[in-house]
Every structure is written in structure tokens, then in C-alpha cells.
């Protein structure tokens, strides 16, 4: 039997390393570049590619109708992300003196150049050092589907495409107020984006071609083309309404541009659900375990199982249970370690709830090597918790559990004999909730990448939020 094929005990650091350093995405981009460029010496090419380390630089295309503010947004994004702006003007401006006179004349007349030349210009520009190091933002290119296809076939692949959209009437009106600063090239607006400094105000000129007719004609062209460009970028496109203040548009664009897309990297979820008692953690954990076949690690349940099975840990824990005291951290951690070391929980992933209750326990969990890669905080207001918990009842005869509001018992007879668990009384509930909130601030500070959800909704809605939180990559922090 070949040693490489036997089932292996893979140390847990390896998947964690892979996840933390985004190995899969790294390999994917490298392989893509290899396939696109097909160099003669693949090894040195790969070395050069890895040395560049530019997988995370912005590669953005911004499209939109005239007067939607795409140049403004593009410039702001450039400044914010410290990247390079490529637009028709500045691409051609560099080449103007090198073009032959006939093309120059044609350009100056129609402001258009053949697509092949444009694509070649873009290619050359993108090969330069600063674009490689800091990324690029294309403003208004490609304009037609032909250009889009040519760019794609050259291997220039953006990571995010932002399309601004607004009603034509709005755009036509807006375009009438457009003003340009001849020195910096920045675009201002008489109503929406007036520069504060008076010297800039004095410099502003009215650009040519902003009359209604012109705008309408350009809009027509645009609509004709954009419909055919959008299908070329299926998964990375986002449409933002340009009919809002430009700061809002900018922030939406910025947030979108900074998200990773879902990657195909193999991912074993290690989920931690935190929240006060009654926020629905066990329910969500059960749903997750069922749907994604994760191992459901409920701390309280594990301890009770240990006591019931009379294992050696169980014998140690039983006196604490009998005296109704809190089990010490060291014992709990030992029991948890035992459970989390099983091969199935390493392979399938786990969802844990009820364990770290404060910062020390969270530290202990981390030092043992069981760091969760998704942490969720379920926020439920106190009234909802009380409503959910104090109305729980159990039928002593059948053992069936009812809730007076959400799952009332069918007959009056059953309702008459229902009993309430003393742990569900209001004071007990309030006590436990207070206990949680005392430590929640520390926990939130410890788990900086946690996702906070509103737990006060229908369980399946909350489950969908949890799912999307698990599946989508974690948001990048703004540097």
C-alpha cells in the first residue's frame, strides 16, 4: 500500500495555515497567469509572479452613463486606494505625440480611436511598474462590447466592475451643471459638488458638449452599448444607483470594491455562536449541523453527557453538578479538547455554542489551537428573550415541549397540566442574561472579526444570515 494514499492524520495547523494565507486563491491566480501568458520558463515566471505579490491590488472597472459621476468616483477611489486611474484622455494623451498625424486628426475630430489601438494602449500601460504594484482603475473603458471582448481575450481581467445607473432625465439635468477645473482635471457640479475654495471656483470652465441634445445622444449610444457589455462580466458586476449623493455612491463603491469574491477554496467551517441565553444559539447550531454536517459542540451538553456516561471526567464533574456550582475552566477545556480532537470534528468542522463565556476562556481556546474562523454574535433584546423563555412549557405526561406563543398546545386538557422548568423563571433568565452581558464586551473585543446579527427574527431568516456569513469571505479591514 502506497503511503501517500493511506488516510492521513493531517495536523490541524495545515488547513488553518491554508485558510489564513489564502493559499488556494494564491495558487489560482498564479495558475491563471501561467495559462494566460504561457511563458517558456514557467518556473522563473512563477517566481517573478510570486515576488510581485500583487494579488490584492485593486483592479476595477467603472462604467456608467455620462454625467453619472464615474470620473469623480474613479478619482476618489484612486486616492483612497492609492491606485492608478486610466481613462481615455490620459491613455491617449501620453501617446498623442507618437501617433501618426492621420490618426491624430481623426481622434481630434471624433474623439474616438480604433479599438485595437486602444486595447494596445491599455495593455502597454498595464505592463508598467506602477500599475503592477498598485493596481488600476479603468474609467469608462470598455465602451463597446467589442472593446470588452478584446480586453478580455488579452487576459486583462478586472476583479470588480461597478456600473452606475440612473434615470435619463436625472442625468440630462445633472449634466447641465457640470464644470471642469482645467488645472487638475477634476469635475465639479454647480449644485451637488461645489468646491469650497474660491480660487478653484473662479477657475472652473464649462466643458463642451453638455447641452441636452448632446447628452441625449450620448445616452443613446451608452444604452446601446452597456446592455451588451454587462453580460461579459457576470459574477463581478455590481450596479449602484447614481441618483444619490456622491458620498453615498462612493461609500457603496468602496465597500464593494474591498470585498473578496467567494472563492472555491476548501473551507472547513469552525463556527462560534455567542449570545445571551434564549437568543437561539442551540437552534441555529442544530440547523447548521444538519445542513452542513458539522459537529455540534454544545458545552453544557458535553458536560452532561460526560457525567451520564460516568467517564473519568464525568466523575470529576459530578460533584460540581450536584452542588449546582460552575464547573472550573480547566475541566471544561479538557472535555472540549477531547471532543474537538476527534477526527470527524477536524475533518468536518464544528459549530460551538455555550463555551467561551469570557476572555480567559477564549484565550485558552486559542492557545490550544482551536481558533474559530467564523464568530457570530446574536443580539436579541431582553424583552424578546423573556418572552421566548418564560413561556416555555413541558407536558409531564408525553414529554412534549410547547411554547405558549409560538407552539401552543392543541387542547385545553394538555394546557392545564403543563409545567414550567424552574430555570425558565424570569429572575433566573434575567440573571443569566446579565451574566452574559457582563462579559460580552470583552469577548467582542477579543474576536475582532466577529459578525453581529439581529437574532430577533424568524429562525430561518437568522439561519440565512448565518449561512451567508459563513459562506462569504470575511470582509477586509480598511487599512
Amino acid at each position: 500500500m502506497d503511503a501517500t494514499t493511506a488516510p492521513h492524520r493531517i495536523p490541524a495547523e495545515m488547513p488553518q495555515y491554508g485558510e489564513a494565507n489564502h493559499i488556494f486563491e494564491l495558487m489560482q491566480t498564479m495558475l491563471e497567469q501561467l495559462l494566460i501568458h504561457q511563458p517558456e520558463d514557467p518556473v522563473s515566471f512563477m517566481i517573478k509572479h510570486l515576488n510581485r505579490n500583487n494579488d490584492n491590488v485593486p483592479k476595477i472597472i467603472i462604467l456608467g452613463p455620462p454625467a453619472s459621476g464615474k470620473t469623480t468616483i474613479a478619482m476618489w477611489l484612486c486616492k483612497h486606494l492609492n491606485s492608478n486611474l486610466l481613462s481615455m484622455q490620459n491613455l491617449i494623451g501620453r501617446e498623442l505625440q507618437f501617433m501618426n498625424p492621420e490618426m491624430k486628426r481623426q481622434y481630434l475630430r471624433t474623439k474616438m480611436i480604433p479599438s485595437a489601438l486602444l486595447v494596445r494602449l491599455i495593455e502597454d500601460r498595464l505592463e508598467e511598474e506602477d500599475c503592477i504594484k498598485r493596481g488600476w482603475i479603468l474609467d469608462g473603458i470598455p465602451e463597446t462590447r467589442e472593446q470588452a471582448l478584446t480586453i478580455q481575450s488579452q487576459g486583462i481581467i478586472p476583479r470588480h466592475v461597478v456600473v452606475l445607473s440612473a434615470l435619463d432625465t436625472v442625468l440630462i439635468e445633472r449634466n447641465l451643471g457640470k464644470r471642469v477645473d482645467p488645472q487638475t482635471g477634476e469635475i465639479y457640479h454647480t449644485t451637488f459638488d461645489w468646491p469650497p475654495e474660491s480660487d478653484i471656483q473662479n477657475r472652473l470652465v464649462v466643458p463642451p458638449g453638455i447641452s441636452e441634445m448632446e447628452t441625449a445622444r450620448k445616452l443613446l449610444e451608452y444604452h446601446r452599448n452597456i446592455v451588451r457589455i454587462i453580460p461579459s462580466y457576470p459574477k463581478i458586476l455590481k450596479v449602484i444607483s447614481a441618483d444619490q449623493p456622491c458620498v453615498d455612491v462612493f461609500y457603496q463603491a468602496l465597500t464593494y470594491v474591498q470585498t473578496h469574491h467567494r472563492s472555491n477554496a476548501p473551507f472547513t467551517p469552525r463556527v462560534l455562536l455567542c449570545g445571551p441565553t434564549g437568543s437561539g444559539k442551540s437552534l441555529q447550531a442544530a440547523l447548521l449541523a444538519q445542513k452542513y454536517s458539522l459537529v455540534n459542540v454544545c458545552c453544557g451538553q458535553l458536560l452532561k453527557e460526560a457525567v451520564a456516561d460516568k467517564t473519568q471526567f464525568g466523575e470529576l464533574i459530578r460533584p460540581f453538578f450536584e452542588k449546582q456550582m460552575v464547573v472550573p475552566d480547566s475541566l471544561v477545556v479538557k472535555v472540549l479538547t477531547q471532543r474537538l480532537d476527534h477526527q470527524d470534528s477536524i475533518q468536518k468542522g464544528w459549530v460551538m455554542h455555550g463555551f467561551p463565556r469570557d476572555q480567559d476562556q477564549a484565550h485558552m481556546l486559542d492557545t490550544l489551537g482551536y481558533e474559530p474562523n467564523r464568530v457570530f454574535f446574536l443580539n436579541v433584546p431582553l424583552d424578546s428573550i423573556i418572552e421566548r423563555l418564560t413561556l416555555r412549557r413541558t407536558d409531564p405526561v408525553t414529554g412534549e415541549r410547547y411554547h405558549l406563543l409560538y407552539k401552543p398546545p392543541p387542547t385545553m386538557e394538555i394546557q392545564a397540566r403543563l409545567l414550567q422548568n424552574p430555570k425558565d423563571s424570569e429572575e433566573q433568565v434575567k440573571l443569566k442574561v446579565d451574566l452574559f452581558y457582563r462579559n460580552s464586551a470583552d469577548l467582542e473585543q477579543f474576536y475582532k472579526q466577529a459578525i453581529t446579527l439581529n437574532g430577533d427574527q424568524d429562525p430561518y431568516t437568522v439561519f440565512e444570515y448565518v449561512e451567508s456569513g459563513i459562506i462569504n469571505p470575511l470582509p477586509k479591514k480598511v487599512p
Binding site: F24, M27, E32, L149
Partner: protein, 416 residues
């Protein structure tokens, strides 16, 4: 004398020294009468009367009785007398207190009796006896005789004759013995020493031999030990390396298995992402899109243009005809109320132009005739008016390839 001495010395300096020649202490009792011989040796004690303390100075008629050196103060005297009196009184008191023999009983009388062994006669009067004696008159001290100590000891004498004291042979013997003996002893000693030395040497050799052997043995053992140790070290090292390698290998295998599993989806993912980004495209689709469709659209545009051109031309024809007719009508004095006006409708009605077209061709346009000639057979063949439009369009399309250029130019001329 002493005081004279001291006075002298005290005047000389601060230090006090006292020296005196050793002298015999004068005896108080003189055996012989004073002679003239003794004067120089014994200085006579004399002193200056002026400095004698016993002499009273000053006026003596008002002599203070007290305060002579050593004389008691009168106050002191009084005190002493008082003290004496007190002491006497105390003594008397004590005597009275002292137990005495009780007073004799009535009719009796105490008498003192001696109880010692030898009785003594006690008389008031002491027995006196006179005795006389006489000392000789003083004589001169005689000269001291020479002192010759008495002889002690016994006198003995003897005489030694020649040859009695020293006999050479006899005397030599012990010396010879000694000498020879000593020599022999010495030589014996030397020989013994030599022997002993030789013995020692031999022992030392033997010892050295043994020692060398032992050293060699020790070295050998040490070598052995060292070799063992090195061997052990080497084996341990080897084992450790093996274990290390084993670990590394298992880690590498685990890493490889993990990487395989992790990147199992890599290739499909790469290809699908490249396809999504448009790098991989269906070439036929692309070809159709880039090659065929534009051409198609172009052609459609052209056809539509031609259609438009044709219609414009038609409109122009209609207009011309109508104008001419109008003119003819106006010129011809309203004889003919021409239906062609109704028939020929306005420019742009779809129904009539086909019919009108035929009509026009038959009646007019010499200029157009050579151009339209080729169309005629095609058009004429389709007599059915309902289908005529369709057929005409089809005919236009079919005939387009040959006449494209000409039509275009006419169209363009018309438009311009």
C-alpha cells in the same frame, strides 16, 4: 642630713634625685666609747637653727599656745577630753550592765580564790631582790685580726711512677677496635647501601614495568570505552536522524496529501474563473459574434437603407408624377378628373406604391428604365398583388448582390 641633702637638690632643678653612699646604719647602742676615729665617715646631724622648726620665732611674751606643729588644738583637746569622758561613761555603763556575780546571800561573803594548777602567792607588795653586777671599764677596740677561714677537708697525697699510667698496647686496643670496627662497619654499610640501592632499582624497574603494563591496559580500556561511546553516539545519532527523517517524511506525506486535497479543486476552479472572466470563450460563438453578426447587421442596415432609399425615390417619383399630372390637369382645362391622384395616394402608403410602381414603370422614367429593366422580368412574373410586396422585397434582396454598387450610388446621389 637628709633634709640638707634634699634642700640642696631642690635648689638644683625640677627633678628630684636622691643618692647617698651606702653606709652602715648607726647602731643606737655604742659598745665602745666615742673615739676620734669615727668623725669623717659619719656626718654629724646638724642643722641651721634658723630653719629648725622647734625653735619658736617671734615674740614670746604674747605666745599663742596653740597651733604648734603636731600640737593638738585646744578645741580638739576639749573635744578629746569630752570624748574620753563619754567613753569612760560608756565603759562604766557597760560595766554596770556587765553581768557580775550576784551579791552574796545573807550571812555569806564572797572570797576570791585561785583555781589554777600552780598557785601563786599574791601579795600587795612585790617581792624585790637586789642584785649587783659590774661591767668592765671601757677598752679600746682592738684591731681586727686577719681572717683566715678554717680548713676543711682531708689532705691526701700520692705519687705516680713512670710507666704506671699509660700502656700503649692496652690503650691502643680499644682505639684500634673502634677504628677497625668503624671502618668495617662503614664498608659494610656502604655495601649494604649499594645492595639496597640495587634492590631498589630492581624494584623500581619491576614496578615501572608493572606500571607500564597497567598503563597500557588502562589505555586499552579507555580506547575501548571511547570506541564504545562513539559507537553509541553514532548509533544514537543515526537513530535520531532516522526518527527525524521519519517524522519529516510523514509530515511531508501529510502535507502532500493535504495539498492534494486542498488543491483538488484548483484546476476546475481556474478554468471556470478564466471562462467567467471571458478569457476562454467559445470560438464559434466569438467568431459568430465578431465576424458574422456585424456583417449581418451591416447588411440589414444596408437593406433597410435601400428600402428607405427606394421609398424616397418612390416618393419622389410619385411627387413628380403628381406634379406633372397636376400641371397637365391644369393645362388641360379640367377635362380629366384623374383617379391616379387617389390611386397614387400620398407618398409613403404601403398598399398602393407596389401597384403604382408597376404603373409608373410602364408609363414613365426613361432615365430609370435601363436600371429597372432587369427587375422587370422578376416583378412581372409575380402577378398576385397580395404577394407582390413580399416578392418585391425578396426580389430586392436577391437582386441586391449585383446591383448593390449602382443602387448605392444612386441612393447616395439621391440623398445628397
Amino acid at each position: 642630713m637628709a633634709s640638707a641633702m634634699t634642700d640642696r637638690t631642690s635648689r638644683a632643678g625640677n627633678t628630684y634625685t636622691y643618692t647617698s653612699r651606702p653606709r652602715a646604719l648607726p647602731c643606737q647602742r655604742r659598745r665602745y666609747r666615742d673615739s676620734f676615729l669615727q668623725a669623717e665617715e659619719e656626718p654629724v646631724h646638724y642643722g641651721n637653727i634658723m630653719y629648725d622648726r622647734r625653735v619658736i620665732r617671734g615674740n614670746t611674751y604674747a605666745l599663742q599656745t596653740g597651733q604648734l606643729a603636731g600640737q593638738p588644738d585646744p578645741l580638739e583637746l576639749q573635744r578629746r577630753q569630752q570624748a574620753k569622758r563619754r567613753a569612760l561613761a560608756r565603759k562604766r555603763a557597760q560595766e554596770q550592765l556587765r553581768p557580775r556575780t550576784p551579791e552574796p546571800v545573807e550571812g555569806r561573803k564572797h572570797v576570791d580564790v585561785q583555781t589554777e594548777l600552780y598557785l601563786e602567792e599574791i601579795a600587795d607588795r612585790v617581792i624585790e631582790v637586789d642584785m649587783e653586777c659590774q661591767t668592765d671599764a671601757f677598752l679600746d677596740r682592738p684591731a681586727t685580726p686577719l681572717f683566715i677561714p678554717a680548713k676543711t677537708g682531708k689532705d691526701v697525697n700520692t705519687q705516680i711512677l713512670e710507666g704506671e699510667l699509660f700502656d700503649f698496647d692496652l690503650e691502643v686496643k680499644p682505639m684500634l677496635e673502634v677504628l677497625v670496627g668503624k671502618t668495617i662497619e662503614q664498608s659494610l654499610l656502604e655495601v649494604m647501601e649499594e645492595e639496597e640501592l640495587a634492590n631498589l632499582q630492581a624494584m623500581q624497574h619491576a614496578y615501572e614495568e608493572i606500571r607500564n603494563i597497567e598503563l597500557a591496559e588502562v589505555q586499552r580500556l579507555e580506547e575501548q570505552e571511547r570506541r564504545h561511546r562513539e559507537e553509541k553516539e553514532r548509533r544514537k545519532h543515526q537513530q535520531w536522524e532516522i526518527v527525524n527523517k521519519h517524522n519529516e517524511t510523514s509530515q511531508k506525506i501529510a502535507a502532500r496529501a493535504f495539498a492534494q486535497r486542498y488543491l483538488a479543486d484548483l484546476l476546475p476552479s481556474v478554468f471556470s474563473s478564466l471562462r467567467d472572466s471571458g478569457y476562454f470563450y467559445d470560438p464559434i460563438e466569438r467568431d459568430i459574434e465578431i465576424g458574422f453578426l456585424p456583417w449581418l447587421m451591416n447588411e440589414v442596415e444596408k437593406t433597410m437603407e435601400y428600402c428607405m432609399v427606394g421609398r424616397t425615390v418612390l416618393d419622389m417619383l410619385i411627387r413628380e408624377v403628381v406634379e406633372r399630372r397636376l400641371n397637365m390637369y391644369e393645362n388641360k382645362d379640367k377635362h380629366q378628373s384623374l383617379k391616379p391622384e387617389d390611386m397614387y395616394g400620398g407618398p409613403g402608403t404601403m398598399r398602393d406604391p407596389t401597384v403604382g410602381y408597376d404603373f409608373q414603370e410602364q408609363s414613365l422614367s426613361h432615365t430609370q428604365r435601363p436600371l429597372l429593366d432587369r427587375d422587370d422580368p422578376q416583378r412581372m412574373s409575380y402577378g398576385d398583388p397580395s404577394q407582390e410586396r413580399k416578392y418585391m422585397d425578396e426580389g430586392e434582396l436577391l437582386g441586391q448582390s449585383e446591383e448593390t454598387a449602382i443602387r448605392k450610388s444612386t441612393g447616395k446621389d439621391e440623398l445628397q
